[in-house]
């Protein structure tokens, strides 16, 4: 059973830009997803460890203070529980593709991204919108 099929799971978004984070929460909540947000890797790990059920996908920025995307990913893979959660890299730099490849992310979403593209990627991991609305 993937977390996405669990009726109450949500997404985790990790990005250090407050405006972007707020916007992602806005547009994904509009579609009925439950959204967890963290502004760096450390906060994201803390959020994951207290989140039950686990999120269906993690949308991960690379460049962040305190703990960056790579460090977060290796921490995540070290924890067998968390390792199963698919990760989508979210980057503005096409040159980061190699970096993301080394991190073994499941998917890559470029910045800027269209809302349709973003939603289709999220739907791939979390199922169609509305199903997971948690209030």
């Amino acid at each position: 059973v993937t977390p996405a099929r669990d009726g109450r799971s949500g997404l985790l978004i990790v990005d250090d830009n407050a405006d972007l984070l707020r916007t992602l929460i806005d547009v994904l909540s509009d579609e009925g997803y439950r959204v967890l947000a963290a502004s760096n890797g450390r906060d994201a790990l803390a959020a994951l460890r207290s989140a039950r059920p686990l999120p269906c996908v993690i949308l991960l920025d690379l460049a962040m203070p305190e703990m960056n995307g790579e460090e977060f990913r290796s921490e995540q893979l070290r924890d067998p529980d968390l390792a199963r959660i698919p990760v989508v890299g979210f980057t503005a730099d096409p040159a980061n593709r190699e970096r993301l490849g080394a991190m073994k992310v499941d998917d890559i979403v470029p910045k800027p991204v269209s809302l349709d593209h973003l939603l289709s990627v999220v739907e791939r991991y979390c199922g169609p919108n509305g199903d997971t609305v948690d209030g």
């Binding site: 806005d26 547009v27 460049a63 305190e66 269209s114």
Partner: protein
Amino acid sequence: VTADSATTEKVWLAERQIALVRLFVVVANTLVYLFLMEKAGTVPGLAYAIIVVAFLYTAWVLRAEPYRRYAFLASSYFTSAGDTLLLIAWIYATGARSSPFYLLLYISISAVAFRYGVRETVAAAVLYAASYLALLVALGQVAGHVAEIVVRLAYVPLIALLSALMSREILRQTRSRVEIAERLSRETRVAERRSRFLADATAILTRSLDWEEISARVARLIVPTLGDNCVVDLVTSDGGLRRMAEASADPGKEALLRELRAFPMNEAEGSPTRRALATGQTVFIPNFDEASLRSLDRNDAYGRIVRAIAPTSSVSIPLISRARTLGVLTYGMDASGRRHDPADLALAEELARHAALAIDNARLYRDAQEAITSRDRFISIASHELKTPLTTLRLQAEGLLRQMGPSRGALDPAAQARRLTTIVAQTARLDELVSQMLDVSRISAGRLDLNLQPIDLGAVTAEVVARFEDQLSRAAASVSVSVAGAPVVGCWDPMRVDQIVTNLVGNAIKYGAGRPIEVAVSAGEGRARLVVRDQGIGIDREQQGRLFHRFERLVGKDAPGGIGLGLWITRQFVEAMAGTISVESDLGRGSTFVVELPIARAGVT
């Protein structure tokens, strides 16, 4: 030694030729005499004996190489004495006073005058005249012929004198002709060598665009052609000197020269290298004595190495290109004791010019490469930085559009307003980024025009801080502004001052970890002072030096957004208004930025 033996060789060859000529003359005279007399029977037997003796004598001169067996002078007297004996005997055999062969005396004295110096010629003249007179006196042929005999004898020194003068003149002319020819050929050789050397040097030097390699090649060109040892020092970006290359004809000394690299260059004030650098002129020390050695002394270890190399002379030539001194080429002699001839010095200076050009080219190439890399990096960073607000903008706008579609519940006005505000904030951020990029390109192109007018620094600061109110409340931070004493008014560019304060306060909020920020404005000693102090993450001491450089976002690639240009732009603005900016910071304990602007500039517009 070589020249002397060559001279001896020439003299000896001449002597052999003269011996042959002498033999020819004796034989020819004999035949003439026999022919004229038409009475072979009357020739005395002694004459035939003398012809035989002359043959033997000549054979002896030809075979025995007297110039190798006797000293030069002894030999000359010996041959003169031999000649005299032969001549007098011949004259006696052919009739003494009535012999026509007294003329042989003149030929012989002429030969002596040509071959030898004054003393030998005088000796030979006395010998000939005395022997001839003695013969005639002994035979009792003087009486009644005194006048004739005196004339014959007088001709001997006269011909000797004329021959000596002629020989001297011929010698002088020959010598000067030889000298001119030798000088010309030497000069041609030197010129050829120079031009070949320079052509090779240019080919070698222009083959590289790496100044370290060029320096090494220069050193290799100098040694051993122009000097026994050579070092090349180049001026570094901070104005110091750095040893780039060393070479020595002696591998052991080359290793010693390399050891000198361990000593910092900037201590050697007053050294020839330093003097060449300061004056832009060649410093030539033909005799490297104890005082010159001491001028290099920096400490005992250094002195020991220099004394082990034992230089005897040194030439320090500044490497100048486009009126800038790029470094110094120093070379010299040691144990070989060779001298520097002026042509070699000129050649070394020419080489230094070529080397400076090659080094300058390498530098220009490096600068151009760096400018290209830096621009590429700037474009790359800037475009990534633009993408974040664009992402927000696009998602927010598309999200709102989607909400306006059918089968969607309308958003409440407050949520709509908040989301539209986010969109507006993104356009502001984009505007800021684009302005920064324009500032950078303007500063890089040197087109930073200032619009100076009297402004109140305290008022501008208060205005900027007020503009941050929203951001401050979101960051839950506070900024206190204090102005000491009277308003601080100076003549500055209001827009740039606004940007300076905005950048510093913005940074303090961004990196201030939400703790209180203090901004203070004061004036003193003709300068306005703006201090922005935060208690945030701080800056590593090591990194503080690079802080105001382009693209230095110190916290690294994962720090809060920004192109890393803010502080660089700030410094450019501050410096454009003749001010200074500095930072004091400790990691984890916050940073204090201090900007000082001259108030006295008020008069300048």
